[in-house]
């Protein structure tokens, strides 16, 4: 019996070691780095919280935070609205509905790096697909404001299907009896949506927001391939800034501090959402 008790720990050991080696250790090592000025070929110098303080006075870090925030808020809101609209549309009887649903999900399976390069050709100003068809020269990637919108557009293209699938599944789980009862009371379509569909979808919508926000804060590959962060720093998102700081400039201390700041912000947001989910269920 005692041996059996111990045996379960033996079986757990590989998983524990895995987590310790590949999650806990890198996290702790990164935390240590964030308190040091790390210079290749020299001793690391302890500098306390200076790396964290530096982030709040660094124009590039602040710009990256601003760009990321616009990207997350703008992108997730559009994805949510479009995903919801498509889910409502495709939950109704439509000709070739199953085929259309499948087509709708295709962008999800594309590799973001490939998507970035694909849209680079689509947005190409001198005769790219869109400008070629329209016969105009819209500066999709050369205008700083439009470039951020273009990056957002690609993210929306790729991730709206995810929102669509999840909400569609939730929609199909709402019992038809609720709607029938409301219709007996002559409720309008808007009333049905406002007082039945939306409240019933609320936990799912919050879950979708949580997942998309967490993912969108980490966005890297699409802006990296599509604009490389430019023009200027107009599409340099936070994770790209961290990557450049750490990996290209070997400023591992500052890069680690930035990564922890991002982690704290995302954790705070997620905890707020989870709190809201708990409230909804209670």
């Amino acid at each position: 019996m005692r041996w059996n008790n111990r045996l379960k720990y033996v079986f757990l050991l590989p998983a524990v070691l895995w987590v310790l080696a590949f999650t806990v250790f890198p996290l702790l090592y990164s935390l240590r780095l964030s308190f040091f000025n790390v210079r290749i070929g020299q001793e690391d110098i302890f500098i306390g919280l200076s790396n964290f303080a530096r982030a709040f006075s660094d124009v590039n870090a602040l710009n990256a935070a601003r760009v990321t925030l616009i990207f997350v808020v703008g992108g997730v809101v559009i994805q949510l609205l479009l995903g919801l609209a498509f889910a409502l549309l495709f939950s109704r009887p439509l000709p070739a509905r199953n085929v259309l649903r499948t087509v709708m999900t295709l962008p999800l399976f594309a590799t973001p790096i490939a998507v970035g390069f694909l849209f680079f050709t689509i947005f190409y100003e001198e005769g790219g697909l869109i400008n070629g068809l329209l016969g105009v020269k819209i500066p999709w990637l050369s205008d700083p404001d439009l470039a951020l919108f273009s990056v957002m557009l690609v993210d929306v293209w790729q991730w709206t299907p995810f929102v669509f699938i999840v909400i569609l599944a939730a929609l199909q789980g709402i019992p038809e009896e609720y709607y029938e009862a409301a219709r007996l009371e002559s409720a309008s379509s808007w009333t049905l949506f406002r007082f039945i569909t939306l409240p019933m979808l609320q936990p799912t919508i919050i879950l979708v927001i949580v997942l998309r926000v967490a993912e969108a804060f980490k966005v890297f590959d699409i802006p990296f391939t599509l604009t490389a962060g430019g023009p200027g720093a107009s599409t340099q998102v936070f994770s790209m800034f961290i990557y450049r700081t750490s990996r290209r400039f070997f400023d591992f201390g500052y890069g680690s501090a930035l990564a922890f700041l991002l982690l704290i912000v995302v954790l705070f947001l997620l905890m707020s959402f989870f709190k809201r989910i708990r409230q909804v269920y209670q």
């Binding site: 070929g41 590039n60 020269k137 500066p139 990637l141 050369s142 700083p144 450049r244 070997f250």
Partner: protein, 542 residues
Amino acid sequence: MKRVIWLLALFVCAFGLANAQQYLEWHADGSVTLITFEDNERITVSAEQLGTLFGPGQQPFAGKRIAITVNNSGPKGGISGPLYRLRPAWQELTGATLSIVEMPLAEQLPTTINDLRLGLNQFDGFIQGAWYMGEYVTPGFIIPIDDYITDPRFPQWDPSWWPPALREIHSWGDSIYGTMNDTDAQVLYWRNDILSDPEWQARYQAEVGTPMPFPIQTWDDVIDIARFFNGKNWDANDPDPDNGIVMHFRVNEQGHFHYMSMSASYVVRPGDTVDRCTNNYWFDPATMEPTINSDGHVKALEKLIELASYGPRAQVGWDLGTAWDWFLRGKAIFVFSWGDVGALVQDTDRSVIRGKLGASVLPGSAEVFNMCTNTWETPSEPNVVGNTTGGSWHGVISARSPNPEVVYSLYALMATEPVSLWNVERGWTGVDPGVSIHFLPPAGTASLEGYLAAGWDESDMKFYLDAYYNNNFSDTMLTYLRINGAEEYWRALDQNLSEAMVGRLAPREALNRTARAWDDITNRRGRDLQLKQYQESIGYNP
């Protein structure tokens, strides 16, 4: 049965022998012909050039393996291509095995530095860009090669082939670390068929009121001509209007290199010394104070922005290849860029302008800023400043490699006169001309026939070689930033240049921001350390 076994053994031996000599042909006088992979081109290296280490039946490094990092351009691409072409012949010569480790340009330095720092030591050598030198040399990650160069056992090449500026970027202090390979620099290319056309010259005079400033002397001449041609359909290749110039400013790529080359003539004041106001560009060599926001730099950036306005608007999001293609498709009068352009123009699959090319050293400036007196000076002749802008991609040897001699034998073979010429004449190799053996007499020792046999148009080639000779042997040269963190300094500049190019920052503000960023980088990396490296790298004596 026995007979069958004997026949099989014979066949295996014959096949093995045939294979062993597949890429080499030894001659009675000791010379050897290297046969390139896939293309089966033949390069003959004399016994003297080959050194004493190699010979028929000798494989001095048999069984050894080395790994070399290089940009990921593939087996037929620039810089990496020659390694693939020569690898089988070198392997047969040495008996060693070469692993070519391709890496994206942006990943090469971080990956190799991490490897060295963590002691993984996966690589024996690196085909590095010149700006990596400080990162590799100062922590002792690479070794000097002076002893190998003079060692008669190895393939022979001569550092005196380099012009002084190129020798400098392959060295640190008094030691040479890099083996001759590529020699990068930027020159001005133009459409000679258009600019030398009397009809266009007459139209220019009629419209502008002055004769076309051709041959070009200054950047103002370039601006005037680009302004005139921009928006006109001066080329019959398509019905659309064409541009005056094409550049590329996709951030985090190579746009900043163009600013450096162009601004040098406004900033670098000629003279015999190296100090704050003479032969200087980046920092005050006494204090490490950035000089990137001096009036000379600001004026240069203003000129660059004006010049860029005579190119396609989309170029702020373009990379190098896209800009080159624009020029090759006959859409721009000017491009100023690396030697690859001259070679690409010859490729009629990609270019419609073969035989129509003009090239020269980058133009000068009518005035140059004195950073000591903070005044503008007007020299009697335009201030022309040569450059070694770019990677000048060349091999260095890891200090952690157990096989440094094997690595050097590869680099040295690539640097021998016949192999180097083979690379330069073909152009697609990414190896650009720059040393005396690449130029035609009297400037050098190369032959016209070699270039013509490789497919060059004679007029294009003469313009091209003249431009590179005049650039590389210019009296005044732009110093190269090779200190630790060069990449980081340049990225800060690149981002602010891009902001200025799209109008989000005024030129002075963009350069002020760059100066502040440079100061932060210097402080973080250690001002004294950076200063010492900067002084060493530009030959400044306090």
